[in-house]
Symmetry: C2
Subunit: 474 residues, 2 copies
């Protein structure tokens, strides 16, 4: 039957269409040649050839292209596309390109785009508009949309309430499969477009279970929902932090979870696809924070954001480095007598800093994934210290030998090695105590740990090495 | 009707049951008091009181508890639980606890557990067994299970083929909704237990579309699948790397994607929940790699793994630091004349190192998320250099003033500031060129960038500062 209805040409078209959509290893639309073609079309000021290139491109790719283009060409492209620009691009775009796009687009068009979006995307766009534009766009929305966005904005930023979808299909436990299917076929307005689970609620609208759609399809009409539902749905409080939500989804391999308000009433649902972005975001935040970069200073951000996002950390590091210098300053007389100390001392500090960064990074990740807690802190600290002593001894032996032969001074080699072992031990200890302490003080360990740990290893490294030398060598 | 069937007690039970399952902000089962209770029960050697504590605990939490316990108590717990241990724990557990569990559990029990698992979990367990145990367990499996695991193992590690589920429900385009529903109700063996999408294939079993279950439920029996399907299913090659798969899912907000072999035939499906673990894993790998830690040296790993996972990096860093020392060694005479140089030089190196780490981390992340590519490399490099000059000038001015007043030497202050500006510029340049170059050479930039960048900033920092001083100060 398929063969009769399809001409050979159609078959070929389907196949080649399918082939084109195989996930490419590098993004075609970000390739140099595609961007070159686009830039040429822009130069010719020809909306139709620009459109021919972008017509079939996914909104996420259009957003990427806008981010990659230099500002002038970007603005020109936005102008040439005009109303043809896929509204979804608004919720995909980031950084400087986002500012350009929102500024350049008429508020009417933004309002139309927001109307077509799901609430979480709409909120993303609305939040990023400046105050005047936001007011104007909100006024252009229907009352329903406006209320939905305002309700969502009422939940704390990064909370489950912001993440959840409000549209869901809930039925009482005593409904039969037949009733449920008939209701679904009735095309009632309160049924979401695509959904995967049916939620079961009690008369007070508290969730009591869930049923995957596939199970409903495979059951007979007289069966009741209560008979086939999974009891004890996984509940998330509407105020829970998104990081906690992501943790629960990852740990328990959840597909969807019911979101409840303080009276335990079902107010929304979070599905695993909403969580993917959160996991990505939170990991990104941790990576950047550990390197002392604010998460708004990536390659696509504006120049001012980059400067702002990095200056503070560098300034704090300057203060820490000066503190290290101050320690060295106390030993000027010692160094004057033996310049070899100045040659070797950065190695002691650097080894401590690196060993500390290792332990600290492991500890910060373990705290984020709850592998490290009060319960096992003592054991983990002990083990890190043992690892630090062993690695420290091996490395210090090598380093000590190098120093001995370089400066033909066995005592200098021994002091160098001892200081290094001591500093690596200190690094292991503080590499884990600093993140633990910060976590206890409710400060994000990813943001603040680095500077503490490296300052400690610098100061201790210089002090121990130079004072040992002052006492035993001179 | 609900009210009639439920006694008040039952209602209360449901509510309190529901309240208990609200996602806790900290994990109850990892709390000190719970672990204490468990350790007390272990001391009394009483299987029934241990079981009473763990009976209702999720397998993922049991795995966490085993990871948190010290080795002796862990082995005792495994022994006391015996066959009552939830087989799912086998696929949830990691690190040292995993070794202990697999060693201690009889192969019969492992084989039974593997039989009940989905293929990807089964492969995870099988891979981690040592050779003898693996052979024995494989022999105890049914031929079907063995073939499924062997086929999965035939795909490269970390490929889409390892990630996908093979069980899926595929129908031809010309089937009606009625036919489809009847087939689903027939309880045929080749229908997966829970699923969300129906896949539409052509006669050669090539995917041509997908239909969400909810759409099938809302359509009328005579409608054909072809009428309501989404065309052009998103295709992933079975050999694609899991990192690429995760990237595609995140970028295009996919819920599921069809996996095809080299003849474009549908061989499996990847759903977004499979991807969550991958995103988590890949981010973890990047974070640890940037700090020079192998991803097998976390807090739950064995002592030897920790040592191995960190020694190499520290050794490479030692070599790099000695290289820096060697540069300083060339200026011994200069330092002897002005010890203030020894006091200040670590600050120049440290500021370069930190600025380089910032830029490098941003670049590594931008490469991973494909925000940085050949297309915008030139623009990004230019901008990073501009940011580095501006931040460098501001910070160097502060630092220069401090040095001037500290040592009452304006020329020293000026040289200190100039060297710092130069080193921060070098840091900005190499912070982005090193990751770009490594990526081009097909080396993971997350793993190798750090050591190159900090070695460069150390060597350049010491050399520029000390040689400027040698030329202009002495």
């Amino acid at each position: 039957m398929v063969d009769e209805n399809q001409t050979p040409d159609e078959t070929a078209a389907t196949v080649s269409g399918a082939e084109q959509r195989v996930a490419p290893q590098t993004d075609v639309h970000l390739s140099k040649s595609f961007v070159q073609d686009l830039e040429n079309a822009l130069k010719e000021d020809d909306p139709s050839s620009v459109w021919a290139l972008l017509e079939e491109v996914h909104a996420a790719d259009v957003a990427d292209i806008l981010e990659v283009l230099p500002s002038v060409k970007r603005k020109k492209l936005i102008g040439l596309l005009g109303e043809k620009l896929d509204p979804e691009v608004l919720s995909e775009i980031e950084g400087e390109a986002q500012d350009d796009l929102y500024e350049h687009m008429p508020n009417d068009q933004i309002a139309d785009a927001v109307t077509d979006m799901e609430t979480d995307d709409a909120v993303y766009v609305i939040e990023e508009l400046d105050d005047d534009d936001r007011k104007e766009v909100m006024q252009k929305l229907t009352a329903d949309d406006r209320v939905a966005i305002e309700e969502s904005l009422a939940y704390p930023e990064d909370s489950a309430g912001r993440l959840m979808q409000r549209q869901l299909f809930a039925v009482p436990e005593f409904w039969t499969i037949g009733q449920t299917i008939d209701y679904l076929r009735s095309d009632s307005e309160d049924i979401p477009e695509d959904f995967y689970d049916v939620f079961v609620v009690d008369p007070a609208h508290r969730p009591v279970g869930t049923v995957p759609l596939s199970r409903i399809m495979r059951s007979n009409r007289p069966t009741t929902i209560g008979d086939i539902m999974d009891k004890d749905p996984y509940l998330i409080e509407v105020t829970a932090d998104q990081e906690e939500v992501a943790y629960q989804f990852t740990k328990y391999h959840l597909i969807s979870a019911s979101v409840v308000d303080e009276s335990q009433r079902l107010v929304g649902v979070i599905t695993v696809d909403d969580v993917v972005d959160v996991i990505d975001e939170e990991a990104e935040e941790d990576i950047l924070a550990l390197a002392g970069v604010s998460d708004e200073s990536g390659v696509n951000e504006s120049f001012t954001e980059i400067i702002k996002g990095r200056f503070l950390w560098l300034f704090i590091n300057l203060c820490a480095a000066v503190l290290g210098s101050f320690v060295i300053g106390q030993f000027e007389a010692t160094i004057e007598q033996l310049v070899a100390l100045a040659v070797l001392m950065p190695v002691v500090a650097s080894m401590g800093g690196n060993a500390g960064t290792q332990t600290m990074t492991v500890a910060v990740r373990a705290l984020a994934t709850k592998e490290l807690s009060g319960t096992n802190a003592f054991r983990v600290v002990t083990r890190e210290l043992m690892a630090a002593s062993l690695n420290g001894m091996m490395l210090a032996s090598i380093a000590g030998l190098v120093a001995w032969f370089w400066f033909s001074n066995i005592l200098l080699g021994a002091i160098f090695a001892s200081a290094m072992i001591f500093n690596i031990l200190v690094a292991g200890l503080f590499g884990i105590l600093v993140p633990l302490g910060l976590q206890k003080a409710d400060i994000d360990p990813a943001i603040a740990s680095s500077v503490f740990v490296t300052t400690i290893t610098d100061v201790v490294g210089f002090f121990v090495f130079l004072s040992l030398a002052a006492v035993f060598l001179l």
